[in-house]
């Protein structure tokens, strides 16, 4: 390089000499000349955003985020803060992973393609379904995509989607937006004791239903006990059975394929991401017969010119950049790097680690519920069911006041009713759970 960097952006490398030479080459006196913008709409104002050094910027962000209170989060309901091994951060942060783009040139993207192929394989093992894509945005948007898939494959027979009445409102709302442009409508079926009310559901299902959605575990942390019956009900009415779950739950709970699931959606980032204000990784798996209707990217195995196995994006004729308005989905930028982290985390745990993590969750949630139940003024869990990692507790005092007092002591819990709080042990150490139990006893005394 000749001379020093003179421009305003620290990442634009031109020196004065470079810039002059380049302007001369394009026959322009100034860079301004290259902008072909009518004077009437030229922006002559200021954004009024200061330029800062890297150090100042770090200090600014640190100071803003420093306003967040440091709390022990006993929060779940679809977003979990499991410990992520250092291995994942260090390897996923290797700059080739972090700074690459969609693998449109597979010959120089083999590493990422293989990692995504391994991620797809992980989901195939966990769900028992034959096909998994390599990411949707999150559980809610994956649910929306499942509904539009149902419309495509069941288009002639109906227009209703049935979801549990106890579904996170945010998931329901996202689903409503996804189906707003279709003929589909969303209805709810009753939940008994946190889980599917089978008799109530049976009354609502008819040929007009194109998709039946259930979650395992449910939003209240309970484990569904009649999924096979729900699957049979869906099959008998030619409706798609879509099951919502996550990779840690799937390591232990009934295999979706065994209960008749046609689609599995959910948030896969329980592995690979710490709490990140809801940033997620939508998992999407389905049966082979729907392969050509699947939304999102797929990585497949092939061979290269030396006959070695190689990986590539495949079946791209489903995707928006080729099929445009007839695509199976509008997704382009997805959550590939989070999928990489999830695959790494799963590999770091191994099958025994994943199963043990899920089993420990069941035991720890049960132990905490029993402990709370012994306290005066608390009943836990309120649902006489098995729980995976979270449960609802009844508190005699107003739940909002209890949660507020807990917050003052550094613990965050959900308020899910006037006298109901929900507590999640995922990612919380035994020692902190002890301190939480003591704090709860204190505030409800």
């Amino acid at each position: 390089m000749h001379g020093s960097h003179v421009t305003g952006s620290p990442y634009a490398p031109h020196t004065e000499e470079d810039r002059s030479a380049m302007l001369e080459a394009v026959d322009a006196a100034s860079v301004e000349e290259l902008f072909d913008i009518p004077a009437t709409i030229e922006f002559e104002g200021e954004f009024d955003i200061d330029s800062r050094t890297e150090r100042e910027t770090r200090r600014l962000v640190r100071s803003i985020l420093g306003r967040n209170d440091d709390q022990t989060e006993l929060l779940g309901r679809g977003h979990y803060g499991y410990y992520v091994p250092s291995l994942v951060d260090h390897l996923a942060d290797r700059s080739e992973f972090l700074t690459s783009y969609t693998q449109y040139q597979p010959e120089i993207s083999q590493g990422f393609l293989q990692a995504l192929f391994e991620y797809q394989s992980l989901l195939v093992e966990l769900t028992g379904l034959e096909v998994a894509n390599c990411s949707m945005y999150d559980a809610a948007t994956a649910l929306g995509e499942a509904a539009t898939l149902a419309e495509r494959v069941r288009a002639t027979t109906g227009h209703r989607v049935l979801v549990p009445e106890r579904l996170r409102e945010e998931r329901r709302s996202t689903l409503e937006n996804y189906v707003a442009g279709t003929a589909l409508t969303v209805d709810t079926y009753p939940a008994d004791d946190g889980t599917v009310d089978l008799a109530g559901l049976e009354e609502l299902v008819d040929e007009d239903v194109v998709m039946l959605y259930a979650e395992n575990p449910t939003v209240r942390g309970t484990i569904e006990e009649s999924l096979a019956e729900v699957g049979e009900l869906a099959a008998a009415n030619d409706a798609l059975f879509t099951l919502g779950s996550d990779p840690i739950a799937l390591a232990l709970l009934e295999r979706p394929a065994d209960v008749g699931a046609d689609v599995v959606v959910g948030d896969a980032s329980v592995l690979g991401l710490p709490t990140s204000y809801g940033m997620g990784l939508g998992l999407f798996a389905t049966r082979e017969e729907f392969l050509r209707q699947v939304p999102g990217r797929l990585v497949g195995a092939s061979e290269d010119a030396t006959d070695r196995r190689a990986f590539t994006l495949t079946l791209q004729t489903r995707e928006q950049h080729i099929r445009r308005e007839r695509a199976t989905s509008n997704i382009c930028t997805n959550q590939a790097w989070v999928a990489l982290r999830t695959a790494m985390h799963a590999a770091a745990l191994g099958p025994s680690g994943m199963v043990e993590l899920a089993k420990r969750d069941v035991r720890r949630a049960r132990a905490l519920a029993a402990r709370l139940d012994d306290m005066v003024g608390i009943e836990a869990p309120v649902h006489d069911r098995y729980h995976l990692r979270e449960f609802v507790a009844h508190v005699d005092q107003p739940a909002r006041a209890v949660a507020g007092d807990l917050e003052d002591r550094g613990f965050a819990v959900h308020v899910v009713g006037d006298h109901e709080i929900q507590v999640c042990i995922a990612g919380v150490s035994d020692e902190r759970i002890d301190r939480f139990a003591a704090a709860l006893e204190e505030v409800t005394r």
Partner: protein, 506 residues
Amino acid sequence: MTGDRSDAPGDDDAQSGYDQARYVENGEYEPLLSEKDRTRVEIGGGDATDTDGAGDSPLPDDLTRDSLELPELSEPELARHYTRLSQMIYGIDSGPYPLGSCTMKYNPKFVEDVAALPSAAVHPDRSEGSVQGTLELLARLQDYLGRIGGMDAVTLQPPAGAAGEFVGIRVAAAYHEHNGEGHRDEVIVPESAHGTNFASAALGGYDVVSLPSDDEGRVDLEALEAALSENTAALMLTNPNTLGLFERDIEEIADMVHGVGGLLYYDGANLNALLGRARPGDMGFDVMHYNVHKTFATPHGGGGPGAGPVGVASDLAPFLPAPRVRERDERSTTGEPIYERFDPEHTIGKVHGFDGNWLVLVKAFAYIARLGDEGLADASASAVLNANYLAERLEYDVPYGPFHHEFVASAGDQDAADVAKRMLDYGVHPPTTKWPEIVPEALMTEPTEVESKATLDRLAAAFNAVADEDDETLAAAPERTTARRIDQTSAARTPRLSWQALEDDS
């Protein structure tokens, strides 16, 4: 091993050490994890009343799966596996990445550190009072983006650009519905637009009306006149367009669209060309999305995550997704601003289970705060200079012009896809190929502002070397990459999408 070093690295038949491009183990470039190890763990039924019986399932048999079979490897083995995989990837840190319309530019390293701050890791259901930092950062980013785009209100919820398009379409639909104009069922999209525009409009329930370009590569005003009607809900446009050309008639276009009661949607994929020079809001756009991962250089590894905030003019603000964030009128007892979530009056609801791709938003905020007015304006100036300079150096024909931050060259008699494969041999990432279809054998090129003159000269040399090569050479390429030319046809004809499928197959 004995002390005999005769088969040390360097000898022809030695496989260790390695030539990165050619390293092969067990006949594969890198074995799958499942080929290194597979372990089956039996779940086993448990005693439902047993609370701490280690080894047994704490759940009854009929609620659990029978077994789980996955790789079980040591940490060092995994470290080597993923390191090896990373060595088989080309990223922006490896070299230039002139993918037109993808805006792949260098990502400053410090943004990773700020996103990794422990105080950034919070649960989305935390109370407002306990996450004032997160809410403040979101409010400030909303404000920054509003100023940069000339928009009155911004939502940060959409997790990607296409998700932003969908939100824009849903907001437009809700706006029309609210005004008793629910009959509008058409969205107009130029032929040269990103495929996501068509797909997002269709997902929103609209009929897509495709709009041809004029002889100069811009919106054909007569064709637009013919396409517009009382059924028009919106026109989706990017400016500069995918040919890198500024739509000079944008004010007239805006008047035409507004004249029939339609809305004008701005696809922010090309915003990098305009920073500090022009703002979509000032051009008459009513709705826009920002690809913060492109324009503001936050890494989108392997294809994502990104984030696609949406900005709107004030008339449309009541329809934005919920919740948004704002500063309250009162201050805290210590004089600090207080932030709160709120639902816009006629909100369309949610488009993501929580509040979008938060960590990406932190990085975007940090990037904008670092550059400020001066840096942002310079980024677009350098991007435009680089595109024009590179276009000037190419021996390929570059029709249309003048260009902003990208241009489309034509490979002429050569197959653009083969040209791309051959460029890999010169150690650079090729441009986007065969699109937009307006230019035959398109090589859509966007160098971005981060490339130096020396790099652009090297890139031009690669283009020009390939331009001189014969079809046979191109068809045999690439030969200096990790994997050689990959058979796309068999991948699609016999889909094998998991290691389980590979085993079924053998």
